[in-house]
């Protein structure tokens, strides 16, 4: 049985941490911030791996594999483009 109360608890605390941390992000970096958070939220990949790789009926695994592909694309392009943009910010 899933303990929904502790999940809700995690959600509320994580949102407050998120608001606190994001508020301090440099205004210069909003574009890379968006690609970074996008890559991070592609952690949905862990769910897709289970759906695609476990011993489920093929139709379900196809849905999982497409989801896994979509998340993986976000992870790869998100981190790479964030890094590429951040490299450009120079002080002088």
């Amino acid at each position: 049985m899933i303990d929904y109360w502790s999940m809700l608890f995690v959600f509320v605390l994580a949102t407050f941490i998120g608001l606190g941390v994001i508020r301090r992000v440099s205004r210069l970096l909003y574009t890379p911030l968006m690609s970074l958070t996008n890559a991070i939220s592609a952690i949905a990949v862990v769910g897709s791996i289970v759906v695609a790789g476990a011993d489920y009926p093929a139709t379900i695994r196809v849905l999982g594999a497409v989801a896994l592909f979509a998340s993986m694309t976000n992870i790869v392009s998100g981190f790479m483009i964030t890094n590429r943009m951040l490299k450009m910010f120079k002080k002088q």
Binding site: M7, T31, S48, V51, V76
Partner: protein, 468 residues
Amino acid sequence: MTRSIAELAAVLAAALFIFALYWMNDPKTARHGVIAGVTGMTLAILATWIQPEIVHHGWVMLAIVAGFAVGVPLSRVPLTAVPQRTALSHAFGGLAAGLVGTAEYLLGVSAHPAELTAFRMSALVAEVILGFLTFTGSLMAAGKLQEVKWIPQRPVTYPGQNVVNIGVLVAAAVLGVFVVNNPTAPWAGTAFNTIVALATLFGVLLIIPIGGADMPTVISILNSYAGLSAVAMGFVLNSKLLVTAGALDGSSGLILSIIMCRAMNRSFTNVLFGAFGTVQKAVTAGEQKTWKQESVEGAAQLLEQASLVVIIPGYGMAVAQAQHKVRELYDQLTKRGVTVKFAIHPVAGRMPGHMNVLLAEANVPYTALVEMDEINPEMPQCDVALVIGANDVVNPAARYAKGSPIYGMPIIDADKARTVLAIKRSKNPGFAGIDNELYVQDNTWMLFGDAKAVLGDLVRQFGSGGLH
């Protein structure tokens, strides 16, 4: 044993993700954030992959390789295309959530009906609605930004639009309540598919009335939805890591949306249901002033004699790909002892931070990029304000013209500078929708033409032949 490894990896990954965002508070440390993010992600993926229930390794491998094959080229797009890429990645995030939600529902109905509790079903329905509306909404936004032919660029409005949109969403939610209460009823499958279809439709309808100027806000809101769909997925899959990462993404989107809305003096509902850029009637009554044109030589002279020049870039700079020429002008002027600053309006461009990234690409030091609130007190001391492809963000009508759609929007006080030089592509004043009286002020001179070409001519004036 493998279960404990997965739990430990999840805790580490969550901590690393928070650090990644924390390091974004300064351009000096920001790249540590990428390393932290990649490390956390790799740990989480490996720890999931080694679980005993994963048996079809070929499938996982194939999907990961395909993800790399598409992801790597997507990370190499020109920086002017970053808004589209961002919208596209929100679409992928939404799609992943929607598909996993659908798979979990099918799995629950066929194998574990007891697991489809009311709470889990609610999370599942929320995941699917948010996921699929983010998917099509972001695809539409990406299409508009990419200027795909069959997606109308201009906002499309019709009578009763908001009633239709909200009706579609309410219908999906009502069906959702039925499915939550009877997840295994004979009709539940059809109802579930209808929810998917309605959410997909709602995403399209939501973006149709949105114009280009609203894109920074809309992208931020879609960012938030993508995060929330990941949170809902976390609830469905019982993954605290997913809930945490989704909440971080969601709160980031929320903060950016609030900042964008404030920078336009509008509310969320006004952006999503207000159809900016459609009902703009010429509010300028009375005498029609006309603009004065300046030659490139004259403009170069003005710039050279200045001691403080403030450059105000807008979307026009991105369209013309003029950021490198801007940098050359910056070099020429600073070499001559002129102080040059860049005034960045929060909604300049098509996504948050768009101008900063383009100027950083052209090697403009980030210390020269100044936010609107910090530059405005300095504007009366500014000798020349050089407006490059910006329009609404410098329109003085925002201060007093109550009938104007941009009324109340905070602007960069370009008009308070001693002299204003404005580079504008077209002489046609009506094109942008709103007349900008900055262009007809007594101390404003216009330079007409493509921003890149005009700046190239300006820079040439500072070269060997002209001024020195």
